[in-house]
């Protein structure tokens, strides 16, 4: 990890020396003590194994956005039946589908081109990178409110040239030989910018011509393989729910699909929905004075410490521990005040 130069990179607002000179010794020590007095569920003395490969941290404690509200719905426990029903499958992936419906579903319609990187799926602004192995093209989608600023900015780069992009008169700007960008006017809530280092001007324009809008299924199917695809979602959920105690009548269509996340994030969605359903039952039973039902719900939550998917996720991040801490509160008869936020089902 040695300092390297990047050419014209601006200096950072703080250097490491600046930071080291800050008078924070006491605060640093206090934080250390605070953290180390925080209980952990796994305090064995086993040394950490050497990482077999650089590991990505998927620790994220998901706190749901308003769009991901989980609704407890009663219905048949059909998820154990392989295949399920098409309509419910549609419900399960409905958020992702809605997100895709709102997104600029652009693909390069040419052999060899595929999406290699996605940033910001389901967000107002994001970026798709397409590659055919030797060429790359970035498609940015941005909020409509930023259109004027970006257009004005690019107009400083070079004189704009009218081109057609995805059936709409647009403006191409030239950063330099082999580096072009095109801004497409606002459509709906967003606009597109397509920047590429795909060769000379004619090659860039040729790739622009190969951009197409697609339907939702086609677009989602073109996403990189590591994301959980809607078509695979039911099967994935069924797998994740193996060994998981679910409330009577639990319906997997209540599992929100906030984004096409990785297995860790999706596992958090699945287990969070189940756990929230149990907590809701426990809360209702407690208020009703139904001790048996309350105890059953608390026990089910305690069983989460053996749910295979959580044990799998526990190696990757912090979400399972959040859930288990909440389960312990319930077991102790305490209402877990912020459980919806902590589990991502608010």
């Amino acid at each position: 990890m040695t300092k390297s130069t990047t050419g014209p990179m601006p200096e950072p607002p703080y250097t490491d020396d600046d930071v080291m000179a800050l008078p924070l010794d006491r605060a640093r020590q206090e934080l250390l003590e605070e953290i180390m007095s925080t209980p952990t569920l796994h305090t064995d003395n086993t040394p950490a194994p050497p990482a077999d490969k650089p590991r990505r941290t998927r620790w994220l404690v998901i706190v749901a956005s308003a769009a991901a509200a989980a609704v407890v719905v009663t219905g048949p426990v059909w998820w154990a039946q392989r295949g399920g029903s098409e309509s419910t499958t549609g419900n399960v992936s409905s958020w992702a589908v809605r997100a895709a419906e709102d997104a600029p579903r652009v693909l390069v319609d040419a052999p060899g081109w595929e999406i290699t990187y996605v940033y910001g799926f389901g967000s107002p602004e994001g970026e798709l990178t397409f590659s055919n192995g030797s060429q790359e093209l970035d498609v940015h989608w941005r909020s409509a409110e930023n259109y004027d600023r970006y257009f004005r900015d690019r107009a400083h780069v070079s004189t704009g040239t009218p081109v057609e992009l995805l059936g709409k008169p647009s403006t191409m700007f030239t950063y330099g030989e082999g580096d072009y960008t095109t801004i497409r006017p606002v459509e709906g809530d967003s606009f597109l910018e397509v920047r590429g280092g795909v060769g000379d001007r004619s090659q860039y324009l040729a790739v622009l011509d190969q951009l197409v809008f697609t339907d939702v299924d086609t677009w989602l199917a073109a996403m990189p393989p590591e994301v959980v695809m809607p078509a695979e979602r039911v099967e994935t959920i069924q797998g994740m729910l193996e060994g998981v105690r679910t409330p009577p009548g639990f319906d997997i269509s209540t599992i929100p699909a906030e984004d096409l996340g990785d297995r860790y994030h999706f596992g958090a969605r699945v287990t969070g929905t189940v756990a929230c359903a149990w907590i809701e039952r426990w809360h209702q039973a407690t208020r009703a004075g139904d001790d048996a039902a309350a105890n059953a719900a608390a026990a089910a939550l305690q069983s989460s410490k053996q749910w295979p998917i959580l044990l799998e996720m526990d190696r990757q991040g912090d979400y399972p521990e959040v859930l288990w801490e909440i389960a312990d509160k319930v077991q102790a008869g305490r209402f877990p005040v912020a459980y919806k936020q902590g589990l991502g089902c608010d």
Binding site: P8, L22, I35, T38, T43, T116, S143
Partner: protein
């Protein structure tokens, strides 16, 4: 209450094979507190946010100590966590724990001009702000944290080859931006580097 070894903290000696988790975490903390705080300060809108990033990241490391890789990859692991904590801050998610009050307080006192500094730097980094998010992250990790492409690949979870391509292209793009003297007018408002996350938080 268990405390880490102060000598380990002060000495900055890293022994990844330490048999005691407390010692291992103490070493990890001592060796990486400064770099992680620098990472956070260079990106967070406020000193308090930077303190929160440090607190949350180390808390995750404490709880997931067995998963923190050995050697220099530990810092990359921490950067990866910090990156997600920052992203959560920008999305306006709430903190789950409230640790590090003193760090928040002392850091805010130590860098009272943080917002002004970022604003001043924003003029200098206007060109950087014009780049895409991923290009910008690759450049920042290279120049500000001194990471090489393999290390950046670990932090961003991208193939190393893709990082090299990105880096080369991002450098060229930045060079062109810097060669184009557009002044503050050219600044694109709303970019993560130059606009306060708290503003986005309020609007989200």
């Amino acid at each position: 209450m268990r405390y880490g070894s102060e000598s380990a903290l002060l000495g900055g000696h890293v022994s990844d094979t330490s048999s005691a988790p407390d010692d291992r975490f103490g070493n990890l903390y001592g060796a990486n507190f400064g770099p992680l705080l620098g990472y956070a300060l260079r990106r967070a809108a406020t000193a308090e946010d930077a303190a929160d990033v440090v607190s949350e990241t180390f808390l995750v490391a404490w709880r997931r100590l067995a998963d923190v890789p050995a050697g220099s990859d530990a810092r990359l692991w921490l950067y990866g966590v910090a990156r997600r904590v920052l992203a959560n801050q920008r999305r306006g998610t709430e903190r789950r724990d409230r640790l590090g009050e003193r760090l928040r307080h002392d850091l805010a006192a130590a860098v009272p001009d943080h917002a002004d500094l970022l604003t001043a730097r924003a003029d200098l980094t206007t060109a950087l702000a014009r780049l895409g998010v991923v290009d910008r992250e690759v450049l920042q990790l290279t120049a500000w944290e001194g990471l090489d492409p393999r290390e950046i690949a670990t932090v961003l979870d991208m193939p190393a080859g893709a990082v090299r391509t990105r880096l080369s292209r991002a450098r060229a793009r930045l060079r062109r931006e810097l060669g184009d003297d557009r002044g503050v007018d050219g600044h694109v408002a709303g970019d993560p580097l130059t606009s306060a996350p708290r503003n986005r938080r309020e609007s989200s």
